[in-house]
Symmetry: C2
Subunit: 371 residues, 2 copies
């Protein structure tokens, strides 16, 4: 049997531990894995694009465990009451090739994205960053708010979305949670939200080259957490922000980010630093209080690897029996696959006479056989 | 909810319809899809190799449906009582990106591989082929035997395996089924089994460049169904068989086959015909009764696409409620992902005080925050 974490189970697990602590612990797992970056087999994700969205597979392995995530991105889905992004993933044992865990990753992707944002910001934002602008108040926004409140100490959130109902929904959810002395300010434009912020988080969803942030909005010392631009033709930042002489761009995995990130707008050789170098100490996250730091996040397979391994452990640590599914056969004799497929009771059913194909197929076969 | 076909469900479905009819119907689905080859997005599979095996992802799409299969290959597994090959797959709706079906594919891969072999042989083998040598009597062998008996009219099977217990197991399973007037001959070597056969099927499992068939064994007019050589460094045929002037090599998808098939042993430009061309009439499967035809089968994503769509329909046609799993959340408001994650009952649990990180993490964060 393969461990199974469905929607209900992940709700149980996250509710039990609490989303803030879940993301804090997950960020520690992610940091641990990115520090051993060289051990992983890495490739840009496999994407199948259609006019309305994209379906992607994101595999990676450290030679002991293997994982992949399936994730879609369909901005128009919300109009039909469906999610823009859904995801699930599998963790496997490299030694046998057997899957260990199948898990939902719609919720988990939201959690790991925010955990990753906060992990990067802990290194990249100025110390004592307390004010964050949150542009885009959709499905990802609560997770960013909680992670930055809990892990960075953000105490003022400045909200803006073109859809004011999304902002009200975010505000309602945050008030219900009662985060650490958090002040929430509803703003009437991106410019108003960004003005004076220490950190600017963009989590918008349109699949196009948008200009959510313009060069004029950016102030020295800001940290920009650019999450929403994450596939070809989908960006949020004016390219001149990236080209500022005082800007420093950090990415997850440069070859993938050059295809999918904000830097897809720039020349191939544009200098970036990979987060793994920052975490290991080989790279610089911020050289001065006046630099503009940009985390050009697109989501990378290794982050999902960390999330699946963390979920697998968390799920097993719970005392109650972990749910499982019969995704892989368990045979007495591994060379006798067939013997396990057709059940004994079928032997009579499968007597010679019952094997005839439907008449039309039979006729085609007979003519082929010359009989 | 996502439809779910686990081991138990696929056993039910195949037992109900019977493996021979299942493979016949599946072959018709596969033929239908290969005839519209140009509509599919195709890529060689994504493989992660380790010293003991390989884990692969095989995606494809026709712009309406999307599918991928996860499959491993670990020949040493049988020594530990595990399967060499396990697999599962997903069928999705391109319009929304939502998964429609998660299905086991360990059994299904065995079924689709044999269906594909028989489909190709119906075009490639001489009419009235009645005698088949079956080299390698492991997990795939019963499926090949049944498919060729049912779809080609094979009436004599000549069996050989280095492991005589595997041959006994195959014979036992076939006798139990009572196939159409099938004569079974146990042979003491590959050469003995192959001598005088119309069709030679090789389904061995070693992950190395083996020479199961030598040039001296091959007789004019034979059809070789080469199934076991299916990844880099894993082949079954001596390359001189492929180089015979009277040989014709048919493959599923040339770019993948040049990496994984028997033709990996030959120069890049070696001429091959894709099966889709044979099925559509654009290519020739066999020009004369004396040609040696070789189906260099490695398994391609499109065949799994056909199998998943067929299973999805079959599963839904059954009157009993089809099993399903909660792999994707169903939300009242698709922008309110968070509101559905943390359950109402947790609001008290998640009061501010309960949100503190463990002391050590808190200390690290505090020092980072300069407090």
């Amino acid at each position: 049997m393969v461990d199974y974490i469905g929607v209900e189970r992940v709700q149980e697990l996250v509710t039990h531990i609490g989303p803030a602590r879940f993301m804090e612990a997950l960020a520690a797992e992610i940091e641990h894995d990115y520090r051993r970056w060289g051990e992983f087999e890495k490739s840009p994700r496999h994407a199948v694009h259609s006019p309305v969205g994209v379906i992607e597979l994101m595999p990676t392995s450290d030679g002991r465990l293997y994982s992949f995530k399936y994730v879609n991105g369909h901005p128009k889905n919300t109009a039909a009451g469906l999610l823009t992004v859904t995801a699930f993933g599998v963790l496997s044992d490299v030694e046998t090739g057997y899957p260990l865990l199948l898990s939902e990753m719609t919720f988990t992707t939201a959690l790991r994205t925010a955990a990753m944002s906060a992990l990067a910001a802990r290194r990249m934002a100025r110390p004592n960053s307390r004010v964050m602008a949150l542009i885009g108040n959709g499905a990802q926004s609560e997770f960013q708010a909680i992670a930055f409140n809990h892990m960075l100490g953000v105490r003022e959130l400045r909200l803006y979305d073109t859809d004011s109902r999304a902002t009200l929904k975010l505000e309602r959810n945050l008030l219900k949670l009662g985060l650490h002395g958090l002040r929430i300010v509803r703003c009437s434009s991106t410019a108003e939200a960004v003005r004076g912020a220490d950190i600017v988080t963009t989590v918008t969803a349109d699949k196009r080259n948008a200009v959510i942030l313009t060069p004029a909005m950016i102030e020295p010392g800001m940290h920009i957490n650019a999450v929403g631009g994450d596939c070809p033709g989908k960006t949020e930042l004016h390219p001149d922000i990236l080209r500022r002489p005082d800007a420093r761009v950090i990415v997850e995995f440069a070859p993938q980010c050059r295809i999918e990130g904000e830097i897809q707008q720039l020349e191939e050789g544009f200098p970036v630093t990979e987060l793994s170098d920052v975490l290991s100490g080989a790279g610089v996250a911020r050289a001065s209080a006046n630099e503009v730091t940009i985390f050009d996040s697109v989501g990378f397979a290794l982050t999902d690897f960390s999330a699946l391994r963390y979920l697998h452990r968390l799920n097993r640590e719970q005392r109650v029996a972990a749910p499982a599914i019969d995704l892989v056969p368990e045979l007495d004799d591994p060379k006798d696959l067939f013997g396990d497929l057709v059940r004994e009771s079928s032997v009579t059913f499968q007597a010679p006479g019952a094997w005839s194909a439907p008449a039309d197929i039979r006729r085609a076969a007979d003519s082929r056989l010359g009989s």
